[in-house]
């Protein structure tokens, strides 16, 4: 048949015939024939009979016609499918186990893949995101991460003026604002942006316009672009929003635009040192730099984002920017020289740190899927052995090997197809569960869905899965020895290579399980170690953040706000202590200052130290212990001698072997600033991440400094909900336009900061558990089948005097041999692969002996349980029964 004809048969509607068509055409034929015969003088009845006779077998022709009108192959495929379905129905137990196993694997893999798709593969909601970069100007001799050093405003403007690498560049700041309505006040993430911000991101508004250069001129800056979610929550999606105003920090802003739903830049994942209080950005307002700000060369508070010209690589742009920075460096103040250049990809910054986690999960879930495939293959092999007689007969009747293989693969595909559909349904539930476990710091995780790409992935997965679990059984089963089949009297066929295949499968499965268990074990050990570290603060302390606005113009006003708030809090019945700090532990914020310690030999001018401002009761509120000296007192106020408290690490580093009390130090990097005296030593606090060992840290009295925003901590015997209500009331009483943001206990802060680790650990443990269960089921299946096959042999052994213990040990030995091979494989693989996990571990070596002992031990234990039932059955074979049935 020519290709064209084949296509015509397959695809052209015109070339098919419906049964109605065929019927009409044939009956027309018969009537015409009968009419002609009647005209020749036949009786009606005889004419009809003769017409049928000449037509020749009506049904026969109809069938021939139908066959011709169907695409080729379909017939035999349909027949194969029908037969396969009958086979599955005949063994519902087998089919159920295989389908459930595979569906579990396919469902879990699809669900994890949907995360990968949403987070890593779907492009960011900005035009040509791959061209977007952040610019940094690191100072080489200061030992801090590159991303800490954003360009100063003057440097950024000069780079913009001088470069040829970027098509566009924008400056923006990340802030939080108090957004008040007539009923309430809330804190929203906001960005102050220049006129190039939206065009650099190639982001267009859903409604109205974006912030432009005119808005950034003095006197024009009271306009705002709002997010889709704010439009929804404040204005119920009303189109007349563009005529309205919002009140930010007590000032009215005219709404000029609404961004589309997916645009929330910058989010908490978009900036390396972003404001942790910002989840997504809800308001964009003009940056409106004053000429003095724009000319500032030494302070770096804004972020700089740029778009590479098409065809310009990051390397080329960097070398040009480095050259520009070498020229600009001389313009910086003498004590702060050495400004360099660095460029980081924006998409990489946003999603880069989620990548190892997601690939790890995808790898692990694929291992689970492989174990599931192993089980399905094992089940197929066992069943194929039972059907060897059938295949022997088929071969004897002339079925070719390919024909038998095709039948077997059709059965696999049917199994896989059903499992695939069930798996996609399961994936939907798994995805809901995953989104529920969302650690909150993986960008766009909540956007994961079973979209077209994910469904295509699932379909491909089904095909690959079928080939994986169907091929081995198909090959080994179709290798039929006719002579053997006939020799064995047609009752029991032998299919060679099967037992070896099944043993290999079990060993492979056990290997994968050991690998997964080792990974999960290491993560669990890390997690428990981390959970038992001394944090240096009480988990029950309730904290919240407040940010003051421009109405609080002087230090005096700001400090009296905090004084008033703390007094109100102290007045709440049940509150034991309350205090304020400008940068709370685990809040992803902090400040560093230059340090000079009097009498310390290794002082250098670039020496940096963490430096927080706190009120008198802060340490007792947080339950941070005092080791020497005193806490701050009411007397430590503006005008009184400057005092500081240091942590233990500070004392140990700068005053080893002696008391830190009474020593003096200088901060801020100015040689003329006054000496500050150490009056107390407090315990170390885990500040940035729970994982990081505490660094030297300074505390100075808030009242001797200033703060435009602070975290306020409260310790009480009240239940948290009641306390939160009282806190809000207290804040309202002090200033109703300021919102209490991020109200949480320190315990919740710990939970948030460890949520990704928990997510990872939970999932990997879950995968390891599922894989272990599947492998145990597989091992049990193999042994149970093997015992059933060997009933006569074991019967003979027992008849000849083998003890039950001996039979049991024979079966267990058979099982354990497979497991031991698998253990060896798995441990070898684990040794090779755990180094990829090293970054996720805390306090344990990747080659942690406990884990590497426990994982195989657990598998061995599970294997013994799987062996016990078949062994017990083998030991209780009745030799007489066994021999009689032979």
């Amino acid at each position: 048949m020519s290709l064209r004809a084949l296509f015509a048969r397959l695809f052209s509607r015109r070339n098919r015939r419906s049964d109605v068509d065929i019927h009409d055409e044939f009956s027309a034929h018969l009537e015409m024939a009968a009419a002609e015969l009647r005209a020749q003088g036949m009786s009606a009845e005889a004419a009809e009979r003769e017409a049928r006779l000449r037509f020749g077998g009506l049904t026969q022709q109809q069938e021939a016609y139908r066959v011709q009108s169907r695409p080729p192959l379909i017939d035999s495929v349909v027949a194969d499918l029908r037969y396969a379905a009958r086979q599955l129905r005949r063994n519902p137990g087998f089919a159920t186990v295989a389908i459930v196993t595979l569906a579990l694997g396919i469902g879990a893999t699809t669900a994890i893949y949907s995360l990968v798709q949403a987070v890593l593969l779907r492009s960011l909601p900005y035009g040509h995101a791959e061209q977007l970069v952040y610019l940094y100007t690191p100072i080489a001799h200061i030992d801090q991460p590159v991303e800490v050093f954003t360009p100063s405003d003057a440097d950024a403007f000069d780079i913009r003026r001088l470069n040829h690498s970027f098509s566009s560049m924008a400056l923006f700041g990340q802030e939080t604002d108090n957004l008040s309505t007539s009923q309430s006040v809330q804190r929203v993430g906001s960005a102050t942006v220049d006129g190039n911000f939206f065009s650099t991101l190639e982001a267009a508004p859903a409604l109205g316009r974006v912030i432009n250069a005119v808005d950034n001129r003095p006197g024009h800056q009271h306009v705002a672009v709002i997010s889709h979610s704010l439009w929804h929550s404040l204005f119920a999606d009303r189109p007349d929003v563009l005529d309205r105003f919002i009140t930010l920090n007590g000032s009215a802003y005219h709404i000029v635009g609404v961004m589309p739903r997916e645009f929330q830049y910058p989010t908490n994942n978009d900036l390396p040192y972003g404001n942790s209080g910002v989840g997504t950005t809800n308001v964009w307002i003009p940056l409106a730099l004053t000429p003095q700000q724009a000319a500032d060369r030494d302070n770096d508070s804004l972020n700089t984002i740029a778009r590479l010209k098409p065809g310009v690589s990051r390397e080329v742009a960097l070398s040009e920017m480095s050259a520009i920075m070498r020229r600009l460096d001389t313009l910086h103040s003498a004590e702060l020289r050495g400004w360099g250049a660095a460029i980081r990809s924006l998409p990489e910054t946003t999603i880069g740190n989620a990548r190892p986690l997601l690939w790890l999960l995808l790898g692990a879930v694929c291992a689970v899927l492989l174990v599931a495939c192993g089980n399905a293959a094992n089940l197929l092999l066992a069943r194929a052995a039972a059907r060897s007689h059938e295949f022997g007969v088929r071969a004897t009747l002339g079925a070719g090997r390919l024909r038998v293989m095709r039948q077997l693969l059709t059965e696999s595909l049917l199994l896989g197809g059903i499992a695939g559909v069930a798996g996609i349904i399961l994936a939907w539930f798994f995805l809901r569960l995953l989104l529920h476990l969302d650690p909150g710091d993986i960008p766009r995780l909540q956007e994961a869905s079973l979209d077209l790409w994910v469904l295509l992935f699932a379909a491909a997965l089904v095909v690959v899965t079928c080939l994986l679990f169907g091929t081995l059984p198909a090959i080994s089963t179709s290798r039929i020895h006719l002579i053997d089949t006939l020799k064995s009297g047609g009752t029991r066929g032998t299919v060679s290579g099967q037992n070896r295949g099944r043993s290999l499968l079990i060993a492979g499965q056990v290997g994968l399980v050991v690998l997964l268990l080792a990974g999960a074990g290491l993560l669990i050990r890390s997690y428990t170690k981390l959970m038992s570290v001394k944090t240096g603060f009480a988990p029950s302390t309730v904290t919240f953040n407040v940010a003051l606005d421009a109405r609080y113009g002087t230090t005096q006003q700001r400090l009296s706000f905090f004084r008033g708030l703390l007094e109100k809090l102290a007045g709440i019945p049940g509150v034991r202590a309350s205090g304020a700090v400008n940068f709370l532990p685990l809040s992803n914020s902090g400040s560093m200052t230059f340090l000079w310690v009097d009498g310390y030999r290794d002082n250098n001018k670039d020496q940096l130290v963490e430096d927080d401002r706190v009120t008198q009761q802060y340490f007792s509120t947080m339950d941070t212990p005092l080791f020497a000296g005193r806490f701050f007192a009411d007397a430590d106020r503006a005008g009184s001698p400057p005092v500081v408290i240091v942590n233990q690490s500070f004392a140990k580093q700068y005053f080893p072997g002696q008391s830190a009390l009474g020593h003096r130090l200088r901060t801020g990097g100015h040689p003329n600033s006054p000496w500050e005296t150490i009056v107390g030593v407090v315990g170390d606090v885990r500040g940035t991440r729970l994982e990081d060992t505490p660094a030297p840290q300074l505390y100075s009295p808030l009242w001797q400094g200033d703060a435009a925003g602070a975290f306020v901590a409260t310790r009480s015997s009240l239940p948290p909900e009641m306390l939160v209500a009282s806190i809000r009331a207290a804040l309202r009483a002090v200033d109703p336009t300021i919102a209490a943001a991020n109200i949480q206990t320190m315990g919740q802060a710990i939970a948030v900061s460890t949520s990704r680790r928990r997510f990872q650990t939970t999932l990997l443990s879950l995968f390891a558990g599922i894989a272990l269960l599947l492998a145990v089921v597989g091992l049990y299946g193999v042994l149970a089948y093997s015992v059933r096959q060997r009933v006569p042999e074991i019967g003979v052994r027992i008849a000849l005097g083998a003890s039950r213990a001996r039979v049991i040990s024979m079966v267990v030995r058979q099982g354990l041999r497979l497991v031991l091979i698998g253990l060896a494989l798995g441990l070898a693989a684990a040794f090779l692969l755990v180094r990829f996990l090293a970054g996720a571990l805390y306090g344990v070596s990747p080659y942690d002996p406990w884990t590497f002992a426990a994982a195989p031990a657990l598998v061995l234990l599970a294997a013994l349980i799987a062996c016990s039932a078949p062994a017990w059955r083998a030991a209780h074979i009745d030799p007489i029964e066994a021999l009689r049935s032979e």
């Binding site: 064209r4 004809a5 015939r17 055409e25 027309a28 034929h29 015409m32 037509f55 009506l58 021939a64």
Partner: protein, 111 residues
């Protein structure tokens, strides 16, 4: 009726094409009757056999079909030869004549 001749394998298609080429559009019955008549009623042909064959020819693009009215006003499917069918007929005719000539040479009285 006298002794009937079995149709040679593969020749029905050519006979049908030839008939459609010389007679113009025909319905299945008309086609079957015409083949019987031309053969002088000596072919052992079940009339029903033409239908799968017609479908096959149509799938190859050699004929096309449409519903129409028969002479006694019944609804019937009419088949007509296509240009490609005519080309195929020429090829098949040449092939057949070659074979017939070869066969003929074998059965001619030896010189």
């Amino acid at each position: 009726m006298g002794e009937k001749t079995e149709l040679l394998q593969g020749t029905l298609d050519t006979l049908m094409l030839k008939t459609l080429a010389s007679m113009g559009p025909l319905h299945g019955y008309g086609l079957a009757r015409r083949i019987e008549q031309v053969s002088g009623n000596t072919l052992a042909l079940n009339q029903g056999t033409v239908y799968p064959a017609l479908l096959r020819l149509e799938q190859r693009g050699w004929i096309r079909s449409d519903w129409g009215k028969s002479e006694n006003n019944r609804r019937a499917r009419f088949y007509a030869i296509t240009p490609r069918g005519r080309r195929q007929l020429i090829r098949a005719t040449e092939g057949w004549q070659r074979i017939a000539a070869i066969m003929g040479r074998f059965f001619e009285p030896q010189q």
